[in-house]
């Protein structure tokens, strides 16, 4: 089985700007839950965008399930929760409509959603615990519920790789705890590979098996317990 994600000697810069990443080597096995931390501007979101094929490296290779990420034939297996500011959480959509949008690549682009795809949508809604509010407009939900709705959207595609970019931004401590437990349960039940990007981890900290600190490159890659002092304040890491 190929690695879920593999980067070899990757370097990247935006247009004519300074290098954001340089000499990045990384291998992620299927089923791992990996947290990416680091200071703002350190390159962690860029690294994830390279993995998702949204950016192409200036140097080196980025492989997704063994294929070049930017032309991967397995894009339908990617579940992506973008940063909150990029999501249409103020659109006049119900939770069910949001989650159904995640089923698009599995069901095909044309025509109405068929019965078996509608079932998959309901399953994803139930999995994140939003069945009771499935018909409610997403704009009327709390920040934590909105995040869970968009996670359900990602799950509706039955992903092999789930990528969450700063999912705890703007949600309260209680919602962060619920999100952490949800991710732990998804990881155990679905054996899905999860990449979790954040500058702060809070409740998720205790479920993460592997921490990757990014600051222009990878400055630490290992178990969180091996980096006790810095782990609790990754945005100010000096390694």
């Amino acid at each position: 089985m190929p690695l879920a994600v593999e980067l070899r000697g990757v370097g990247f810069a935006y247009e004519s700007g300074p290098p954001v990443l340089d000499g990045v080597d990384l291998a992620i096995e299927p089923g791992e839950l990996v947290a990416f931390a680091g200071p703002n501007g350190g390159g962690k979101t860029t690294l994830v965008r390279l993995v998702l094929g949204l950016e192409r490296p200036a140097r080196g290779r980025v492989l997704l399930f063994g294929e070049p990420a930017h032309r991967s034939s397995r894009r339908a297996e990617l579940g992506y929760l973008a940063q909150r500011s990029q999501l249409g959480a103020d659109a006049p959509a119900t939770v069910r409509e949001v989650v159904a949008a995640g089923r698009l690549v599995r069901s095909g682009l044309l025509g109405p959603l068929r019965a078996r795809h509608r079932q998959a949508v309901e399953k994803a809604i139930a999995r994140v615990g939003l069945a009771d509010v499935a018909d409610r407009p997403i704009a009327r939900l709390s920040g934590g519920q909105q995040q869970r709705a968009f996670i359900a959207k990602a799950l509706a595609a039955e992903p092999s790789l789930l990528v969450l970019d700063e999912p705890t931004t703007g949600v309260d401590v209680e919602a962060q705890e619920a999100l952490a437990q949800l991710l732990d349960r998804l990881h155990r039940e679905l054996q899905v590979t999860i990449l979790y990007v954040s500058h702060e981890f809070g409740a998720v900290e205790r479920f993460v098996e592997r921490l990757v600190l990014v600051r222009g490159g990878i400055v630490f890659d290992g178990a969180p317990g091996d980096l006790p002092g810095v782990w609790h304040d990754p945005s100010h890491v000096h390694v």
Binding site: L52, G88, G111, F150
Partner: protein, 257 residues
């Protein structure tokens, strides 16, 4: 009048259906940009002595694709891309219309709409192309909605964002070209946007927003044309004022709920 009402009914439904995707993507003013390019197209039609509707359609399609291309490929900010096309369109229109010596009543019919200038062949054109536009929206609704909700997520999943954005821009161009006889180039963008904004106040889902917007558009056009006919008012302005009134109505409804 019956020809105008029949054409208006199609336009009244089509314009908010297309406008729905523009409003949700915060591109409400794109209709104005394309409308000004359509003006250049009408002027070119007069200059070349061919159907202004055909040249307006060609010009607005080119303008719509240009806006999308500037926005997506050249990484120009959306409002800058719009401004570029907007002002180029109006400037080209003024120069061409002056060269054609066509600053007359017919031109005002295109700018502000006219009930009496709608012909049977206009109605057939509106019915056929309007039907194609509505069928395209029905067929691609889920894909277009997915882009509205999470463009980056859709891109990651392999949804063809670029072609879908071009489809929306082309639908906007088509709507403007078909609607300019009824509502006028200067006001058609309002018919695409106002019914949707009004619907958003009381709708409970994306689908209900779309359908309510189309219903408000239909009532605004049919009501506006009827009032304009009997009160001898300009049809475009009357239609758009009714659409604006519907916003006040739904806002009031929202307030009392």
């Amino acid at each position: 009048m019956r020809l105008a009402l029949a054409s208006g009914a199609i336009v009244g439904v089509l314009a908010p259906a297309v406008g729905f995707f523009l409003v949700q993507r915060r591109m409400s003013l794109i209709g104005d940009g394309i409308g000004h390019v359509a003006f250049a197209g009408v002027a070119a039609g007069y200059l070349l002595g061919i159907s202004p509707v055909a040249t307006a359609l060609a010009a607005s399609l080119a303008g719509a694709v240009a806006i999308e291309w500037l926005r997506a490929r050249r990484r120009t900010a959306g409002d800058q891309a719009l401004a570029l096309v907007f002002y180029t369109g109006i400037a080209a229109g003024v120069v061409l219309i002056s060269a054609a010596g066509a600053l007359d009543v017919n031109l005002f019919a295109f700018l502000f709409g006219s009930i009496l200038t709608v012909t049977r062949s206009d109605l057939i054109l509106v019915a056929v192309l309007g039907g194609i536009g509505l069928a395209t929206i029905a067929l691609l609704y889920r894909a277009l909605a997915a882009v509205v909700l999470d463009e980056e997520g859709a891109r990651v999943a392999g949804v063809p964002i670029g072609p879908l954005n071009i489809v929306v821009a082309a639908l906007a161009a088509l709507t403007i070209s078909l609607s300019m006889r009824i509502v006028g180039i200067l006001l058609i963008a309002a018919l695409m946007v106002l019914p949707v904004i009004a619907a958003t106040r009381v709708a409970w889902s994306m689908r209900s927003t779309l359908l309510l917007g189309m219903a408000i558009g239909l009532v605004s056009v049919l009501g506006g044309l009827t009032i304009a006919y009997y009160a001898d008012l300009p049809p475009g302005g009357t239609v758009v004022l009714l659409a604006a009134a519907s916003f006040l109505g739904t806002s009031a409804l929202q307030a009392v709920r």
